[in-house]
């Protein structure tokens, strides 16, 4: 493991000032990504600033019905919070279907948004990788790419975004709140995650020292009828091959409200706007659902080993929509 130095902070302002002042420093929250990356030499030595004592781990209902999740709230605590289970089942399910009980006790919501990709070439410090060393090339495109993305890829990077929770949050139009020496800021989550394009090393708009303080999930009554459907190689403790976060309301047989985002198939948590467009106002039938899924996957680009993901994603979308329709999406 890389050598590190360490200090602990207990308030947000000190945390930000400490990290901002030292370009070699980084925040240490749950450590489930950070310690791993340092151990496998995929990140350079750092001065770790332990932020686990910062008072930003609360889960709070706002007056307008939004729920504010502290940046240091742990995955398990968010997943099991009654207000999340009740109002945003897709988020609770996405969290609980991710990682393991131990990792969910450790990992923070802010860290979940910033977790690094699981591409084996990115994580192999000996391999060529544009995300780790810009301009060197992508090993995955001509390599073992069964788990890689089919949407949002570029000739420079095809790594799949690994988060489940972020998929639900993208469907829910969450806001990422962060803080730096200039004050408080917020960015829509769909703008927070960047496509790889020509700069796969840049995954989000945060600058060094910016600290995620909260994730705000706006009120969405339709989300009470929502789910996270995750398809993977084994039943638990595995990343998605394809997943769908979906909320649905059907009125008199017609889709009146829908939110849909995909995981496991794209380089960022993928809001399925094309599918939503097909679905809104259309009859809640398998024919419509299939057409919506096909519209979303029309631009998918398969690699040598992952063409199956396109059909898998289509079926995942259809099954999610049918399940919600049968479950009570009709009003």
């Amino acid at each position: 493991m890389r050598p590190v130095s360490y200090s602990r902070v207990t308030d947000v302002a000190t945390a930000i000032a400490t990290v901002a002042a030292d370009p070699t420093s980084a925040y240490l929250a749950g450590g489930t990504t950070k310690v791993d990356m340092l151990r496998i030499y995929a990140e350079p030595s750092q001065r770790l600033v332990d932020i686990n004592d910062l008072p930003i781990d609360h889960i709070e209902v706002q007056p307008d019905g939004a729920v504010r999740l502290g940046g240091l709230a742990r995955m398990n605590d968010v997943a099991l919070a009654p207000v999340v289970v009740d109002r945003f089942p897709m988020l609770s399910e996405a969290l609980l279907l991710g990682a393991s009980a131990q990792l969910r006790n450790m990992a923070s919501m802010g860290g979940n948004m910033l977790q690094r990709v699981r591409c084996s070439y990115f994580r192999d410090a000996e391999a060529i990788c544009n995300k780790r060393e810009p301009g060197t090339g992508c090993s995955a495109i001509a390599g073992v790419n069964r788990g890689h993305a089919v949407l949002g890829t570029s000739p420079h990077c095809i790594a799949t975004h690994p988060s489940d929770a972020a998929v639900a949050l993208v469907a829910l139009d969450a806001m990422i709140h962060y803080q730096n020496s200039g004050g408080h800021h917020a960015v829509a989550i769909d703008d927070f995650f960047l496509l790889p394009g020509d700069t796969p090393e840049r995954e989000h708009p945060l600058n060094h020292g910016d600290l995620i303080t909260a994730i705000e999930v706006p009120a969405l009554p339709a989300a009470r009828n929502s789910l996270y459907l995750k398809v993977r190689d084994r039943e638990s403790y595995e990343f998605a091959l394809a997943s769908a976060a979906c909320a649905l309301t059907v009125t008199d047989g017609t889709v009146s409200e829908v939110r849909l985002a995909l995981g496991g198939v794209a380089t960022k948590p993928w809001r399925a706007r094309k599918a939503e467009h097909v679905l809104r106002g259309a009859p809640a039938t398998r024919e419509t659902f299939t057409r919506a899924a096909e519209a979303e996957l029309a631009d998918a680009v398969p690699q040598t080993m992952n063409a199956f993901k396109i059909e898998l994603a289509r079926r995942t979308i259809v099954r999610a929509l049918e399940t919600l329709t049968a479950r009570g999406g009709a009003v």
């Binding site: 050598p3 590190v4 151990r39 006790n105």
Partner: protein, 175 residues
Amino acid sequence: MVASHLPDAVQGPGRVDVVLNVNGATHVVRIEPRVSLLDCLRDHMNLTGAKKGCNQGACGACTVWVDKRRVVACLTLAIACEGREVTTIEGMTENGSLHAMQKAFLSEDAFQCGYCTPGQIMSAVALLAEGHAGSDAEISEWMSGNICRCAAYPNIRTAIRDVRDGVGGVGRATG
């Protein structure tokens, strides 16, 4: 914005004194900040119950509790546990006798090679405290972070059910 407090002094990257509370006892170790809680327990405290399987958070053999929550010790830095309460399998005995879950693992033959067992037991006891042992499916899901290459899973579930239902000692090994 002005920082309201000075940060604690920077420690490392060389060795520093770290004070840890493990199983109710205070230990002082001299380690680099990069040392994981797992390596600290095994190599610096002679507490070798927690096992190193994958060393990347994938197998659960190193499961311990920090402030009563189960975590993987391989992805936890020892220095980050200063001021927190660490519990390992060595701390599970009660007045010199095995914990009910340890007895149940023995009586139900809930292991073969035994390498994953300390982690399984630390997860299993936490599982009951969390209230996630309602059904076999729920036990399987909430124990999925503990891999057993001998595939003793059915017996592990039985041991957990025994303790949940207070029927320890009725397993095949003693029956």
